[in-house]
Symmetry: C2
Subunit: 435 residues, 2 copies
Amino acid sequence: MRGLVLGALRPTQPSLHAATDHASPPECRPGRAGTRSVVDQALRSLLRRRFRRAPLRFSLADGTDLFDSGIDRVATVLAQDRHTLLGLVVDPEGNFGDAYGEGRIDVRGGDLVAALEAAYRALDSGGNEGRPRALGWGHSLRESRANARRHYDLGNEFYRLWLDEQMIYTSAYFPRPGLSLEQAQVAKLDRVCRKLVLQPGERVVEAGCGWGALALHMARRCGVAVRAYNVSAEQVRYARARAVAEGLSGLVEFVEDDYRSITGRFDAFVSVGMLEHVGPENYRRLGSVIRRCLDPERGRGLLHFIGRDRARRVNAWIRKRIFPGAYSPTLAEVAGEVLEPAGLSALDVENLRPHYAATLAHWRARFEAAADAVRARYGAEFTRAWRLYLAGSEAAFRTGSLQLFQVVFARGGADVPWSRAGVDVEGAEVTSRRP
Amino acid sequence: MRGLVLGALRPTQPSLHAATDHASPPECRPGRAGTRSVVDQALRSLLRRRFRRAPLRFSLADGTDLFDSGIDRVATVLAQDRHTLLGLVVDPEGNFGDAYGEGRIDVRGGDLVAALEAAYRALDSGGNEGRPRALGWGHSLRESRANARRHYDLGNEFYRLWLDEQMIYTSAYFPRPGLSLEQAQVAKLDRVCRKLVLQPGERVVEAGCGWGALALHMARRCGVAVRAYNVSAEQVRYARARAVAEGLSGLVEFVEDDYRSITGRFDAFVSVGMLEHVGPENYRRLGSVIRRCLDPERGRGLLHFIGRDRARRVNAWIRKRIFPGAYSPTLAEVAGEVLEPAGLSALDVENLRPHYAATLAHWRARFEAAADAVRARYGAEFTRAWRLYLAGSEAAFRTGSLQLFQVVFARGGADVPWSRAGVDVEGAEVTSRRP
């Protein structure tokens, strides 16, 4: 029976782009009407179970409306064929991404982010999957390098199309509404400097420095000496060129290497957007690297990372298509496995998820404005996949499926800042450590 | 051999107070000189091993100087006899408290807090004991009530001698140096209200409300309705009388009951200084109580508690003499066992340990000013025990052996405040939740 049904459902057309919305779909061959009605009945029942409270309509390209929750609709999910829709219902996380990328599913008559928010809310089981035993991808030195290259070596030109002018690929911070993405990224860099209470002449090590914006900013703005590590060759080349162009190569050294290779003693450790790629099996290792490189009296640090309320895998499609090896930890995992075993003391944690949602809205608008250029160079499927990735991430930060944490810590027993009042003073660079 | 040595060491005088510093100690009987020199040699070696880097001198009341690290001395630890000093070296945590309380050990020629800081630093193994399996004291409803009564029903007159005028027995917050204890306690209450973004007309539940200062402050300052729980009958009586006197009994209800009995739906949950008494076996229970009583859309909360960098038991003497059943959790324990299983999202964590050290310095100064009255009513041993408890706590917050955390959280998916900028604005009461 299952074989028959799936046989009746198998698509023959490659994409919704080729199909007219109301064209006769491939499985609607004469004599299959009975099978189809059984399938439609099953689909209706499954959709109702999954999306009962979601403000969504589910339709087929042949014009069949399969399910509508009756709640103020934000969009219609349009599937090319029954097979695709069945896959979506059976395993939304595993099947939606590729089906959307390949154009077998589309979202019409509404905003993609709003539709994804609705789907996240409907599909959230509320359960705690627990920490995944195997991520299906390792984090050895070689594998970590391959993971990073897969994503970041896509080409600087690609990221330049939709990132800010400094090429910062982590959340911005919007102290006031209406700031441009460029201003909000500078505000984020300043905020990181203030949380670290950087003083001129101090030494800072950065793990995972992207295209170098934070390292250069710390040197320029706070007068600190920075050693910044990154395994992506293309990003390091870019960052070094910027340091030379800005006359900062005396203060900032970019090292093409893994965080595990950090040597030397520093006053501060900082890592923005790398922890997601470290892998939980390396959290203790990261903690001991941090401890080893921090001055026992003054050493403090900051970890900025995409986190979770509950331990669970990163979305399967994201791991397959976008970020191999990614894992977003809970605060308990970071506190218990990075900080505690290394004798590091948590000083300050801020959840900034609304700011990542706002950042992603900026990125998505720029990405859409450049969509023709992206499509011409990377193809339609790549373009759709990245549209989904950006919209899905925004929806995840809006619904709370993802969190954004900045964790400030110090070596246990080191001096603790008296107050964080200076962090929110725009333009301030230093907070006093004693009243 | 061991019996002989210990026999030679056994004290016969009750207290240093009775002994002149250089009087002949009981174990210095003729013919025992050989034994004594063996014992002194052993003590010197043990003291050197434990306190090699501590700026302390260890002496006996008979004038024997046993050990001096040679580092800038902050105080002399003076033991009445060799037996007491041996007990101190073998198990400092288990034996120092009672020996000090009973006057068999004293700290001379320096500040008690400085001496304790030095000792904490010297004795910190840096190790992680792991979570204790048994605390030797339970947290059933009945036991929790007994634990609280043991400490808080000591009598309001006792606490009135050295707390602020509002009888707030948790850390104050000093936004500026030089504030009085009274001002700093009000600043703390305001800070808690601002972190919770309380709006007039909202409903707040407080778990463990002490003498009622926060509950009354929230009602008076923010116009919210408060239901406040406490198992200490004497504190609840006091708090109710205050509510009546201030004309706030229409807004604030004090309930003499355990946090596990909380019923109803609230916009905010707050608990200041209770988590230390909940017991780790009840963290999940507390989380589910919080989840159940919080509004799913707007519900948020704050936990203020004495914490640890690493999982370990509360000092044995504190558990025995001061706080039966106390356990100070790590941030990982609170995030992983209270918040995560209950689907609560961590929004903001602040480590305020310098403020608890400053608060304790105020309490200690007031306690010393009232020491004659305390001694007259409660006896010399009680007075010395409380002196040690206050000084030891101050030293623990100074060295980082204890932390003070305020954790703000919300029901997962609930609205997240855009920014915490308003928290540090003195006088501000509300922060916007969206830009």
